[in-house]
């Protein structure tokens, strides 16, 4: 990994401990140590860690440090979109808190300000961590008795929603759609959530991906009237499109075709100011994701090339590839601040940025 760029600053910090701070390994450690940590939160925590590990003495220095650190971090990931939401958010937060404290800035006591900033940021992280349980509460009215929930992909939020509904003594049916990718992480997650739901007496079915349409058509009458799709999003783009496990777009299309509402659950720190023009590889590449689904082979020899590929990520995380679900297919976004339409995302982001 390349050393951090802030060594090239005009006024290098007196004690240059920052170059020793490996933000990527710190991030990977965070991700692997706590499976409930999302990439965005881990990225935020890593940036706060670098802020406390180094001692920048001016605002510009702090901001440059954060910028270069986030660039390094994002470059190390095969899918930096969820991380970028977090890094942008914390940088924005720090800039706004600098703006709001002109009185303290004039006092020259930057170390104190920095300390305060770090404390605030930690508070901010702890607040965002509680978002998941809030989402579960908001989603509860959607899961009524005897409703059927289709869930796809491993999502901590979707999982939390289902568990919360089960704990609230709702009786509903869950159908897990499994993709045919041989992702061990996904399999374990699926196994665990199945176990948890069964413990609460919730019937669970697991169906392979190609059978979704058939399964919908096979639902018994009373259940068929109350069906919803519940997916988790890794990031939500500015037009309300959701970046989620590869296949989500297809699942959402099937839902739309069957007039079944399709909800995406996401904490609002996953909102990011990226705007796709369409929903393919090129849009993902614009946002920095190294993923190529479509590859044509020119001869029979390059057999291996025809499979889609995701560049191996150096860190952990669930990397089965992602796709973008366009806002037209999304009935609503379940966030900790309420149920949102896709257009509301832009509003939230603008509020945050201006």
């Amino acid at each position: 990994m390349a050393p951090n760029d802030q060594t090239g600053l005009a006024t290098p910090p007196p004690k240059d401990s920052s170059s020793n701070f490996d933000i990527v390994s710190h991030y990977n450690r965070l991700i692997s140590s706590d499976p409930s940590t999302t990439p965005a939160i881990a990225a935020i925590e890593s940036l706060i860690a670098i802020l406390s590990a180094t001692s920048p003495s001016t605002i510009t220095e702090t901001i440059t440090l954060l910028q270069s650190a986030s660039t390094t971090l994002l470059a190390s990931q095969s899918n930096p979109i969820p991380l970028s939401a977090g890094t942008e958010l914390i940088q924005r937060y720090i800039i706004t808190s600098f703006k709001q404290q002109p009185a303290q800035l004039s006092g020259h006591d930057f170390t104190q300000l920095r300390r305060q900033l770090i404390t605030n940021s930690k508070l901010f992280v702890s607040q965002t961590k509680s978002a998941r349980s809030k989402i579960a509460k908001h989603a509860l009215p959607f899961i009524r008795d005897d409703s059927t929930v289709f869930a796809y992909g491993s999502s901590r939020v979707a999982d939390a929603i289902l568990s919360h509904a089960a704990e609230s003594n709702r009786y509903f049916y869950v159908i897990f759609i499994t993709s045919d990718s041989t992702d061990s992480n996904e399999a374990t997650a699926l196994h665990q959530s199945t176990k948890r739901l069964l413990a609460h007496g919730i019937p669970v079915a697991t169906i392979p991906f190609p059978t979704i349409s058939h399964a919908i058509a096979s639902l018994p009458k009373p259940q068929a009237s109350n069906v919803l799709f519940l997916l988790g999003a890794e990031a939500v783009l500015e037009n309300g499109a959701a970046v989620s496990n590869l296949g989500s777009h297809l699942v959402a299309s099937v839902a739309k075709a069957n007039s079944i509402p399709c909800y995406f659950a996401a904490e609002s720190y996953k909102f990011t100011r990226q705007f796709p023009t369409s929903f393919g590889d090129r849009d993902l590449q614009r946002m920095g994701a190294k993923q190529q689904v479509l590859r044509f082979r020119s001869s029979m020899d390059d057999d291996k090339e025809i499979e889609w590929s995701v560049e191996e990520s150096k860190g952990g995380g669930n990397d089965g590839g992602v796709d973008i679900t366009p806002p037209e297919l999304i009935s609503g976004l379940i966030t900790e601040s309420g149920i949102m339409t896709c257009e509301g995302v832009a509003e939230e982001l603008i509020k945050l940025w201006f």
């Binding site: 100011r273 705007f275 832009a346 201006f354």
Partner: protein, 564 residues
């Protein structure tokens, strides 16, 4: 209107009225080339009323005998009543109606001048007719022939240009869109109208300045000039009086052409700024402050904004293989395309879709070609395809369009796009072909107004623009150029020479055909709506200087941007 010696009075008053407004004119050089033109035009106009009215007098005096002023005066008493009737006839009834309609102090000179130019288009009112018919013809009076009953329909015979009917024929459905006041012309301007405002009004009226951004820019620059020339009258405060002063100028401008959304936003900003001025501020300081503020507003909201938008739009164009569909002409779109081609060296194809009657797309196509987007040009590798909107589907399919860029005249509060008529069609068609539709517009153009149809919020253009004209450069003209015509006929006309003549006659008839004389057909209306509304469902994103937004988020920005 005074009935004694109306012409002499009128002329003297007119010169005394007109002079101050031109005398106070500051250096006109900075307003485009038009300034000297209009200026001289205005000067030429001044003597005109005199000539016209002396001509009237001659006619009154009888049979073209030239009389001196003294003789005229002698006969005045006897001919008083006759003259009253004649005046009405000769000038058409508009002058009097204007008197009724004009809100400002009815200066007879202004009306006379205007009516003598035949510029005014007004509906006759019945009481004038009554006045006329009640008037007993005096035996001694020589009268210009007039047929009281025929007045409005017989306009061609009564030496009036056909325009008076123009205003009468209004499509009832959109009657609210037609301008209610008198159309702006040099003669309708009251004396407090600044000369540069006059210039701008004419430029706006003639669509010399047509684009939304250009209109806003020129408005701000003109208002800046007005502010510079302004002196606060005694016992008033600048912050109180300047806004009313500007309001006069602005209402004159809006009589030339209804204000656009961006113009409205800019004016609102300026007025708010003025009203918030410290009343203790010295006039010169206040004026300087305002001028600087206008400059930085232009810099921030127009110049830099369009730069930012252009570079953001550029980043949406990939290095190779893109085909961009554009409609009409938008300054920001042009800037974005040129930036992508020039500064970033991207190779792409531009499909310019154009429509009647303004053919603004030609300007864009020309601009792109001039910049070198052609074979052997500076930007070789980029192509320009020009198509009319009637060939839109074909243009989309043949060229494998990958993106559609639209300019905006306004973004409405419900996320709809308010833009040149035809944009909605282009957006819908692009959507049909799964082409992302991207709107480029400064946040200055955002408004909280809403519209779901194109009728509630629109502007009616000149209906005559829709009439086919025999212009060889008009692509849509269905009358082929003469030579081609002759060649074709030569080939086919051997067999039936008789038919040929017949055909040519028909052609002549169609040339001056139905549309040309649309005013004479009571049930035929022409409607030239300038704008249309594109619902947000057909738009994918809006790029403004604050970033890229979905169209639904426009009202959120509106709070920060337009209504500031």
């Amino acid at each position: 209107m005074s009935e004694n010696a109306p012409s002499t009075n009128g002329v003297s008053a007119s010169s005394s009225d007109a002079t101050p407004s031109f005398a106070t004119m500051p250096d006109p050089a900075s307003i485009a080339e038009q300034t000297p033109d209009t200026n001289s035009g205005a000067r030429q106009e001044r003597p005109q009323p005199k000539q016209a009215s002396t001509a009237e007098n001659i006619a009154e005096a009888g049979a073209g005998v030239k009389l001196t002023g003294a003789q005229l005066k002698q006969r005045k008493q006897a001919e008083k009543a006759a003259r009253r009737a004649e005046k009405v006839t000769v000038k058409g009834e508009q002058a009097q109606i204007q008197q009724v309609q004009s809100s400002s102090s009815g200066r007879p000179d202004v009306k006379q001048r205007r009516s003598s130019q035949g510029e005014q288009l007004q509906t006759p009112q019945s009481h004038h007719k009554r006045k006329l018919s009640n008037q007993p013809p005096e035996p001694g009076a020589v009268r210009i022939p007039f047929r009281p009953g025929q007045q409005p329909p017989s306009t061609p015979q009564t030496q009036q240009p056909p325009q008076p009917k123009h205003a009468e024929k209004r499509v009832p459905l959109v009657s609210h869109l037609y301008p209610s006041g008198k159309p702006a012309s040099l003669t309708t301007a009251s004396r407090e109208i600044h000369p540069s405002v006059l210039t701008l009004a004419l430029q706006l009226r003639n669509l010399t300045i047509a684009g939304s951004t250009a209109r806003t820019l020129s408005l701000l620059l003109t208002l800046k000039r007005v502010i510079k020339a302004y002196t606060t009258p005694p016992s008033t405060a600048l912050s109180r009086h300047l806004t009313t002063h500007l309001s006069h100028q602005i209402s004159f401008l809006s009589s030339a052409r209804p204000l656009g959304i961006a113009q409205g936003n800019a004016i609102r900003w300026l007025k708010k700024l003025i009203s918030q001025l410290d009343p203790d501020l010295d006039d010169n300081d206040a004026k300087k402050f305002l001028c600087d503020a206008v400059d930085s507003f232009i810099q921030e909201k127009v110049t830099l904004a369009s730069e930012v938008i252009a570079s953001q739009a550029c980043s949406r164009i990939e290095a190779e293989g893109e085909t961009i569909l554009v409609f009409g002409k938008s300054s920001v779109v042009e800037k974005a395309l040129l930036k992508a081609a020039k500064d970033e060296g991207k190779k792409f194809r531009v499909v310019v879709v154009d429509s009647r009657p303004l053919f603004e797309g030609r300007n864009l196509a020309k601009g792109l070609l001039r910049a070198g987007m052609r074979e052997g040009g500076d930007l070789d590798g980029c192509q320009v395809v020009y198509s009319l909107i009637s060939g839109l589907a074909d243009a989309l399919e043949q060229n494998c369009v990958t993106k559609c860029f639209l300019g905006a005249s306004g973004m409405l509060g419900n996320g709809s796009l308010y833009s040149r008529c035809g944009s909605a069609m282009v957006a819908m068609m692009a959507k049909q072909y799964n082409v992302p539709v991207i709107v480029l517009g400064e946040s200055l153009k955002f408004t909280a107004k809403m519209a779901v149809d194109s009728l509630s919020l629109n502007e009616v253009g000149d209906a005559d623009a829709l009439v086919e004209r025999d212009e060889s450069q008009t692509f849509t003209s269905d009358v082929p150029p003469k030579q081609e015509d002759a060649g074709k006929k030569g080939g086919g006309g051997k067999k039936k020479g008789g038919d040929e003549e017949q055909k040519e006659e028909d052609e002549d008839a169609s040339k001056n055909g139905l549309l040309e004389s649309w005013r004479d057909h009571p049930n035929l209306y022409l409607l030239n709506l300038m704008y249309d509304i594109t619902p947000k469902d057909y738009l994918d994103m809006v790029i403004c200087e604050l970033g890229t937004l979905p169209p639904g988020a426009v009202p959120v920005i509106g709070v920060h941007g337009g209504d500031e």
